[in-house]
Symmetry: C2
Subunit: 294 residues, 2 copies
């Protein structure tokens, strides 16, 4: 594969889908102009992060995977620019709703569907109210620029998900994201914690990682969130090689030597030395003592 | 539990066991003087890191777990100071040899035996020549200061091991270590990669982590290693809250609010939201494509 330029875009989302897509398109074109062949967009970029409240009315925002006009528009852009573009969207499927992602290949084809496996639930992030647990398992998308393992936001906190995607062939990990302040404790800043968990995935799996977060203040009915951006690209040793600010709408890019990284992933020896015979605790239910106290 | 002070010690090891133990004891006493109730010592601290070469003669260094004079000496020190001390040692058991660890509780009792699960094998780190794969599984030691999950060096590169120990109740993760330069490529510095993987474990598991490495230059028959120290203590969000230099023999300490950390580990929600039904890839053999090319 040789050198690959990858990008992440972060923007503030307003109420109007078309305006948000127009803004994203401008940044995607800028990323392509800089040579990026994979551009990661933030989670649920069509509009405000509605999970800030529990409001049944927001369920009408969900759309089927097939015939989805936002996906069609992004696919056209991907084909025109010859780039790979993941699309995070609120999916409706026969009365069930999921936090989903599809991957658009560089020829505009829609490659597959992933439904977010890990669904958070805390003040300002009431995702269990809207989304069923994903039922696809982890998905690796075989694209023109390599195999991409795509998680969605809260998935990024789980080493099991990152490892599973790499075991399934992922050469890059991506995480569209919507994370910011904690309404329950405005003084609490989770940004560095959030970055370090993912830097750890990159480092442990010798696999580069791209996280795209949103920026801006969004007011819900019961509170508000300040999204902290800080989208970043980590190399295969977990070092941040590109990072956006907390507030700016922008594109970040980085160049990856994919052949050298693939060689090092094998050569370092961690995959050879795994003890899969000892990992059975991971597939058992989590012990009660680690559960939140109600 | 409230506030707990923990420590790591790093030293350069010479040829003489007693001199090494004397030096360690001096630092352990200093750690206890500063209030530490858990002091993590480096891997195989009785002498030089003999795995730098493949030499059958080094196998005579292995000692049984029972009646081990080094363990007895450390146990006496632990009892005198009322602190918890892990002991990493080269174990002989009926003709089999392991890279092992036992935990000495604050009353001097020997709590249990862990045998290193992940055994590295690369130039300068020929551990597969000396050590059988550990057969104990991961071990969490229930000590006077809390439940301690103890891995040994290369174990620290595996998210599966850290997660397993926390699922088994670990409230602190510790990793006695011997890591430094790469004889195959003297320009290659793995230190930051090494730290980031473990910071990721701490952050993903909301569990503080202590790594103790050795320092100094050690010459083998076929090459030499420069151990890079950089022992560190990470908090439950993966932030380094204490760190030693690359060359100095020293003690580092940090204070941990164990009750607050335990609350946050549960409250953050990652343990509640795990999808153990989706993690079966982790317990299957690693695919051939991730293996080193011979």
């Amino acid at each position: 594969m040789g050198e690959l330029i990858v990008a992440a875009v972060q923007i503030a989302c307003g109420q109007h889908v078309t305006a948000n897509l127009d803004k994203l398109e401008k940044h995607v074109r800028e990323a392509a102009r800089r040579g990026a062949r994979l551009v990661v967009l933030q989670e649920l970029f069509e509009g405000p992060y509605f999970c800030i409240d529990k409001d049944e009315g927001h369920n009408t925002l969900a759309r089927p995977f097939k015939g989805n006009t936002t996906i069609s528009r992004v696919a056209s852009l991907a084909r025109e620019l010859g780039i790979v573009l993941p699309v995070s969207f609120f999916e409706e499927d026969g009365g069930r709703r999921f936090n989903s992602l599809t991957m658009i290949d560089a020829d505009g084809r829609t490659l597959g569907l992933y439904r977010k496996s890990h669904i958070p639930d805390s003040p300002g992030y009431y995702e269990k109210y809207y989304f069923a647990d994903g039922d696809t398992g982890f998905v690796v998308h075989d694209t023109a620029i390599g195999r991409i393992g795509a998680g969605i936001c809260w998935d990024q906190w789980f080493p099991e998900a990152a490892r599973s995607m790499v075991l399934r062939g992922a050469e890059i990990l991506i995480y569209p994201t919507a994370i910011g302040s904690e309404p329950a404790d405005p003084a609490w800043d989770t940004r560095d914690h959030w970055q370090r968990v993912m830097q750890g995935h990159a480092a442990a799996n010798l696999t580069p990682l791209i996280a795209a977060n949103r920026v801006g203040v969004e007011k819900g009915e019961t509170g508000s969130l300040v999204f902290y951006g800080s989208s970043f690209i980590a190399d295969h040793m977990g070092a941040k090689i590109a990072e956006a600010g907390r507030m700016d709408e922008c594109v970040i890019t980085a160049a990856l030597d994919m052949d050298a990284i693939a060689n090092q992933r094998r050569a370092w020896g961690v995959f050879r030395d795994r003890r899969c015979d000892l990992y059975r605790d991971l597939t058992a239910p989590t012990p009660a003592r680690l559960m939140p106290t109600p």
